[in-house]
Amino acid sequence: MQLSDEELGHLERLARLKLDGESREKLRGQLERIIEFVKQLQAVDTGRVTPGADTGTHEAFYREDGTGACLERSEVLGQAPETKSGMFSVPPVIETDDT
């Protein structure tokens, strides 16, 4: 399985990674080996296996619709590298081309 430059570029954009030179080639090789491995899994004949949704055998259990305690806001915001007005501040998310 050969990963083209175009496919690698697409993955880089999705993962917000900028790779070049040696590390890019190293990643290309690793990804190709992963895909080869998945191909081995796909080769297994599962035709006679019942599709399983759940690996466990536990009984389903539910919660009644009551409310409990939430985290302190300061604790929550403490998880964020940047905050503003009580919210997490992140890079802009929607990029569009005008039609």
Binding site: D54, R63, E64, D65, L77, P92, D97, T99
Partner: protein
């Protein structure tokens, strides 16, 4: 002729927030409007090691919708992870349902242009809502995670909708239904109902579907209608100029009323769905479904038809009265006390609904109870109070909270229908206007209305015009 060549094929994906007290997989409150990031916990923030536990009531509410839309309920459905990376989703996946949804193959019947159209429901499934992104100053986005984990049902229609107007009617029906069921408040401004649209066009009569595009960010039912209209025009333009439709996602820009095409290269179309390992399959047995079925109210469409049959109301009046369950209940409360379905419908549609337009008023807390309105209607029907005075009495009942008879006595609005008082008033009018009486008797019959008016004036509007006319006719020798 141009318009007849292509036909639109439209499917909707509607998300409705369920009115549970707590979230779907944790016990944080699911209420709207709290200070940002104050209704979150390790589960809905996706912190490592936190595990979801399913809210039973969220399932029951989804089942209510499934039963109301005549869906088949799956005895075993499976939660699935939908993986995506976006700042509004801290666990980097949504717990949704994929190939084994809770409800499937239902329908909602809608009326457009006097014709009943059946819009099939492909599926209804449960999932968790994402957080809210707010576009802040200086090019950053701000995230409030309170909405993460609020229970949603996603309702997916078959591509059975054939015009923007039909999409609008469908959504109005859907909103009415979820409000009747008490499972969603239907508030589009607060995002309780959201709608994404799939649109394609094809040559009329063609059996195959064209390439479809998606419209998102539609913040009102009117925006859905306008967005579909705009996209249909665009697709037709492209096809007519020999171009091809590409599978894209458009965002509706409500302020400029236009579509913005999203950059396709930013999108990863593969959500890598797999069965949710943290939640066992959802097993819904017969007794659970039966319990939910008992909670099903009379559905709005059925109620509308019953109003037409039972109370002989027009389709329009029945539609207005049944738009809100509370109003329909109120109306039936009035009718059960006073009978008079037509008069009751006039009073509810004119006076009560008019009053409900005031911000902050609601039918549940309406100050004049159905029994009290019934008493007033009875007074008017019996001729004790005139129609005009009746409306005045109603306003005063709203203001003071008193019953109709008390208000009528206090304001002296009792209609004078019989007895010496009315006769005396008529005699006075005739005595004071000898010239008019003479002219009337010699043929100027249009003066009759003048006499009626004078008597009404003499009695301060309290006389019953019908009785006045009868007595006048006798006295004037007709």
């Amino acid at each position: 002729m141009r318009e007849a060549e292509y036909e639109p094929v439209i499917g909707l994906e509607v998300h409705a927030q369920l009115l549970t007290r707590s979230k779907i997989y944790c016990d944080c409150p699911a209420t709207f409007g709290a200070e940002p990031n104050t209704q979150v916990c390790p589960v809905c923030l996706g912190l490592p090691g936190a595990l979801p536990v399913l809210n039973r009531e969220a399932v029951s509410m989804a089942l209510l919708m499934g039963l109301a839309t005549k869906c088949t309920i799956s005895p075993v459905s499976v939660f699935a992870r939908k993986n995506y990376f976006y700042p509004d989703c801290p666990k980097n996946y949504q717990i949704s349902m994929y190939d084994r949804p809770l409800c499937a193959n239902g329908y909602i019947d809608i009326e457009t242009d006097g014709e009943t159209r059946r819009i099939r429901i492909e599926r209804i499934h449960l999932e968790d809502d994402a957080g809210k992104l707010i576009h802040g100053e200086g090019g950053v986005s701000l995230v409030d995670f309170n909405r993460c984990g609020v229970p949603l049902i996603e309702i997916v229609t078959e591509p059975d909708i054939h015009s923007p107007a039909e999409a609008y009617v469908f959504l109005t029906n859907l909103r009415r239904l979820v409000r009747y069921l008490g499972i969603c408040d239907g508030n589009m401004e607060e995002g309780s109902i959201r709608c994404d649209v799939n649109v394609s066009i094809r040559p009329v009569g063609s059996g195959t579907l064209g390439t479809r595009t998606e419209i998102k960010n539609l913040n009102s039912f009117k925006a859905v209608e306008a967005g579909i209209g705009t996209e249909l025009e665009r697709q037709e333009r492209v096809l007519r100029s020999g171009g091809r439709i590409h599978q894209v996602t458009n965002l509706w820009d409500a302020s400029k009323k236009r579509l913005i095409m999203m950059r396709t290269k930013e999108e990863a179309h593969d959500y890598r769905y797999f069965s949710e390992p943290d939640l066992p399959p959802l097993v819904v047995d017969r007794s659970w479904i039966d319990g939910v079925r008992e909670r099903l109210p009379e559905l709005p469409g059925e109620r509308e038809r019953r109003f037409i049959d039972q109370y002989h109301l027009s389709a329009y009046d029945a539609g207005v009265l049944c738009a809100e369950r509370g109003v329909a209940d109120y109306y039936e409360g009035v009718v059960s006390d006073v009978g008079e379905p037509k008069a009751a419908s006039n009073w509810v549609m004119r006076e009560v609904l008019e009053e409900l337009k005031n911000p902050g008023s609601s039918i549940g807390e309406f100050p004049v109870k159905p029994e009290a309105l019934a008493v007033l209607i009875r007074l008017v029907m019996d001729g004790m109070v005139s129609g005009t005075a009746g409306r005045e009495v109603f306003k005063e009942m709203l203001r003071s909270g008193e019953g109709a008879p008390t208000v009528v006595e206090r304001l002296g609005l009792r209609q004078v229908s019989e007895g010496d008082e009315l006769e005396a008033a008529i005699d006075r009018v005739l005595d004071e206007n000898p010239k008019e009486v003479e002219r009337y008797r010699t043929g100027t019959t249009k003066l009759f209305a003048f006499f009626v008016g004078q008597v009404m004036k003499e009695t301060g509007g309290k006389a019953n015009p019908r009785v006045v006319s009868e007595i006048l006719k006798v006295k004037l020798g007709d």
